[in-house]
């Protein structure tokens, strides 16, 4: 099963007005490892045309990326009240 199919099973209450994780693209441009793409279990970080493409909408709020990025690009906050991932089983 592809990770995309697994992520499609999940419920989110997406906050269109607030990205709870932001990245500093100028840092990502010079990043030698792009370890975020390997660490993130929700495939929020992908490389498109040699550049990091980040989407917070699929984030499951695990916190891996803020550790994975050793270059200080990732700023992690909690989504605003009640928004974000909604697990049914946990």
């Amino acid at each position: 099963m592809q990770v995309e199919e697994k992520l499609a099973l999940l419920n989110y209450k997406t906050d269109p007005a607030y990205a709870h994780i932001t990245i500093d693209e100028s840092i990502c441009e010079t990043c030698p490892d792009h370890f975020c793409t390997f660490g993130c279990p929700a495939k929020c970080y992908t490389i498109i045309d040699g550049r990091i493409n980040f989407k917070y909408e699929d984030c499951v709020e695990c916190g891996t990326c803020v550790i994975a990025c050793a270059h200080g690009s990732v700023k992690w906050t909690n989504p605003k009240g009640g928004q974000g991932i909604k697990y049914k089983f946990g």
Binding site: V3, K6, F38, G39, P41, W76, Y87
Partner: protein
């Protein structure tokens, strides 16, 4: 600083096992407590490694075994090494666990909601779907929480935010997380009928299975453990991946490790035909006392995963029991502080001494540094293959004259990827730690 002027006696941030246990204890003693949870409902952002060990819940819910949403009691425990083609496992199952229950599989969406409602029933003010942005401080003393620019005050704040404690980190009460104190946990809940589960795992009634695995088939120095637990009518199957090793490898995707585990020849038949109901991920606290923050200070205490209270020796993974225990001790400390009307660092210091006398810090101190052994080369790269070779040598019959058992074992050892002297030293170190 004295009580009376604050909105609440205590604010608890996070309605997981630690926070809700603290809130139940506090509210039951008549304290005015606010329990704030960013998920709505509670538990809808939680992921458990699966097993609630021990009887800690008894301290806050006396008839817990009857009323708590538990899945199955653990009767069958297994620890296994997986290589690409083999599985070497130690299975332990006993009817004794039927009378003396050691643990239950749980699903956190149900468990956390139940505990939060218990806190509410006990008299706590429960607010859900509210994200605490930061702590309110006055003269260096924590005196409340801030949400959307609004401050709610309390004499004491108990931080029980889980493994990624943003509020504590932002306030500088915890160092930012690092490779060494966190691992990546990924889990799938796979739906199977109760009967199918009972047949596949040879279980009866409400008895359950809990298996831990060393994923010795991973390549390129990647190290991960696996787990599989039976719920009533689903399996919780997951992996815990070491961040430093994944980083060093630099070309393996965490989510692919999860899928590889699911497809292992001795895992896939157990999940076959099951429908994946949920995919989830969560950090797992790893560092133990080595990365433990100050557990208390002026006006605050830290409990549960936020304090790094998890334990794993490769055979069991525990955390929820320590979360409940530490939540209860934080509540007891707060109750004493309320009586004395003193909430300074000194007044809250008995939280630490209570923890030191409890299983929580006794376990974590005794097994300090065990995470390094759990993630060692011996466990992940040497032992799985070596055990496979030895057992293959013992059981493979090709008609040639038999060797002595000792020779087969010695051959397995000298054929391993670790020098014999190193192997002996590593094994000795491991056993001593355990």
């Amino acid at each position: 600083m004295s009580g009376g002027m604050s909105d609440f006696d205590v604010i608890v941030v996070g309605a997981g096992p630690a926070g809700s246990s603290a809130a139940i204890k506090l509210a039951s003693s008549g304290s005015n407590v606010l329990l704030v949870e960013r998920a709505d409902p509670p538990g809808s952002k939680a992921v458990s490694g699966g097993i609630l060990w021990g009887k800690e819940l008894e301290k806050v819910v006396p008839d817990w075994e009857k009323v708590t949403p538990l899945e199955r009691f653990i009767e069958y425990k297994s620890t296994a090494f997986l290589t690409e083609e083999s599985k070497v496992s130690v299975d332990f199952r006993t009817k004794k666990f039927e009378k003396s229950k050691t643990g239950y599989s749980v699903l956190r969406a149900k468990l956390d909601q139940f505990l939060a409602q218990k806190a509410k029933a006990a008299g706590a003010t429960l607010v859900t779907g509210i994200t605490v942005d930061s702590l309110s401080m006055k003269d260096g003393i924590v005196n409340g929480v801030v949400q959307d620019g609004e401050t709610v005050t309390a004499n004491t704040v108990i931080l029980a935010e889980g493994t990624n404690p943003r509020v504590a980190i932002e306030a500088g009460l915890r160092k930012p997380l690092s490779d060494l104190d966190s691992a990546i946990g990924i889990k799938e809940v796979v739906k199977l009928s109760e009967n199918t589960i009972n047949e596949r795992f040879n279980l009866k009634g409400n008895a359950g299975y809990a298996g831990e695995f060393v994923l010795g088939f991973l390549e390129g120095g990647v190290r991960a453990g696996g787990f599989m637990y039976t719920n009533k009518d689903s399996l919780s199957v997951g992996v815990v991946i070491s961040l430093p090793h994944l980083r060093e490898n630099g070309k393996t995707y965490a989510y692919d490790i999860m899928e590889k585990f699911m497809q292992h020849p001795y895992v896939s038949p157990l999940v076959e035909g099951g429908q994946v109901q949920e995919y989830s991920a969560h950090l797992v606290s790893e560092g133990g006392v080595n990365s433990m923050p100050d557990l208390y200070g002026d006006g605050y205490m830290i409990a549960g995963d936020s304090a790094g209270f998890t334990f794993s020796n490769g055979m069991v993974i525990q955390g929820m029991n320590y979360a409940i225990a530490s939540g209860v001790l934080a509540a007891e400390t707060a109750i004493e502080a309320i009586k004395k009307k003193e909430f300074t660092r000194g007044a809250l210091s008995s939280y630490q001494s209570k923890l030191e006398r409890s299983q929580v810090l006794m376990d974590l101190r005794k097994f300090r540094g065990i995470d390094r052994l759990v993630w060692s080369r011996l466990v992940h790269e040497t032992a799985p293959e070596m055990l496979e070779n030895i057992l293959f040598g013992i059981f493979y019959e090709d008609g040639s004259p038999k060797k002595h058992l000792a020779n087969t074992i010695l051959q397995g050892i000298s054929g391993s990827n670790m020098k014999k002297s190193e192997l002996i030293m590593e094994t000795y170190r491991m056993l001593r730690r355990m």
